[in-house]
Symmetry: C2
């Protein structure tokens, strides 16, 4: 049985949840339900079915974790998603702020043939437009741990490399402020009382909240 779109979405959500939490921890049902956008009971039902199929390991009242088979599948969905996003930006000329929604649907229907053709056409890219790493066809996924605007040293030139939020208006905001991946900036100072971070991007001086700042990952030059 090839997995339905629904199953693929659950597996992908689980994969992302595992990545965002410290690993070893099981993902609690509530969080999964929330990520997938269904009622808690629905997630329970689905997870039990996934456990039957051997795609997850489930401990009632505790949480879920992807099995190795589940991880493999989730990674392939992620590969399709990110290659599609890169394709939509590089080939179709769409905005990095818009491609997520399209990819969310297309990831479930593109054939292997088509995915590999996009990959070749793009020159086997390592990351998508948001700086998220693209798994290889055999399921290998790099996961470097970057600094963020919250943790990097002050007054030091750094490069934006990854944005961990797909929200359209957030992405458009970053673009307007010259904070897209690839751009060089400096964090000037942080004000924990004001819950804000001040960065120098291009000519501009921008102040953003710490929550937003934590979503902008950087590399030190």
């Amino acid at each position: 049985m090839l997995p339905s779109s629904t199953v693929e979405n659950y597996l992908k959500a689980l994969h992302q949840a595992e990545a965002s939490m410290g690993n070893e921890t099981l993902v609690p049902m509530g969080q999964l339900a929330n990520a997938v956008g269904v009622a808690p009971g629905t997630a329970t039902t689905m997870v039990k079915a996934l456990a039957e199929s051997g795609l997850v390991e489930y401990e009632p009242y505790v949480g879920v974790r992807l099995s190795s088979a589940g991880t493999r599948l989730a990674t392939l969905v992620l590969r399709r998603h990110r290659l599609i996003e890169q394709f939509l930006v590089e080939v179709m000329g769409m905005s990095w702020a818009d491609v997520h929604e399209d990819a969310e649907q297309l990831e479930h229907v593109v054939s292997d043939r088509l995915v590999e053709r996009m990959d070749a056409m793009l020159g086997h890219p390592a990351v998508d437009p948001h700086g998220d790493p693209i798994p290889t066809a055999d399921g290998a996924l790099a996961d470097p741990d970057y600094h963020s605007l919250l943790t990097c040293p002050l007054s030091t030139p750094v490069t934006v490399t990854r944005v961990t939020d797909q929200n359209s208006s957030f992405l458009r905001f970053l673009e307007a402020q010259e904070l897209k991946p690839g751009q060089s900036i400096e964090v000037e100072n942080r004000n924990s009382a004001a819950d804000s971070v001040q960065v120098l991007a291009g000519e501009r001086r921008v102040t953003i909240g710490t929550n937003a700042a934590s979503k902008v990952l950087i590399e030190i030059l």
Copy 2:
């Protein structure tokens, strides 16, 4: 309610069935069920639901016909399908023999944004790789009636313009025999006893059955 993939497939099948039969005739349930690939009873159930939604007109024991709303929707699905095929061939470099299957899935998930971008990138093509006309964004669909290899004059140069069968191996066969849309050929003679048609394509002399011949449409130069 936006139509599900299933509904879109029924509408498209109905549209093609209406086109292939002489119009004015209702499409019998059996034919629809067959085209969609479901049991007859399933088609009956679905058609009753479509009639409820005003997408078709249904006469029990006689047949179905698309309403104007149904026709509009079917035409838009057809537009997406054919633009996608053209895109896959022209931009992605896929074979005209393979693109139908991919398009069959993609047609249900591509956003309007993406479709219009493909259309622009292709220069607003009038036909797809099989010579099928591409409806415009407002739903207008050209439907010229071509001759076929069965009905065209003998020993007269004609151009292949359209192939009304998506079967992969048939398309590959035509390609190998230099009978793709755009190629100039001549029908040398027909043998109704042998149920065959002999054509001169490029340097080659090819003999094909009349059923196959009826699927290759041509224009007289």
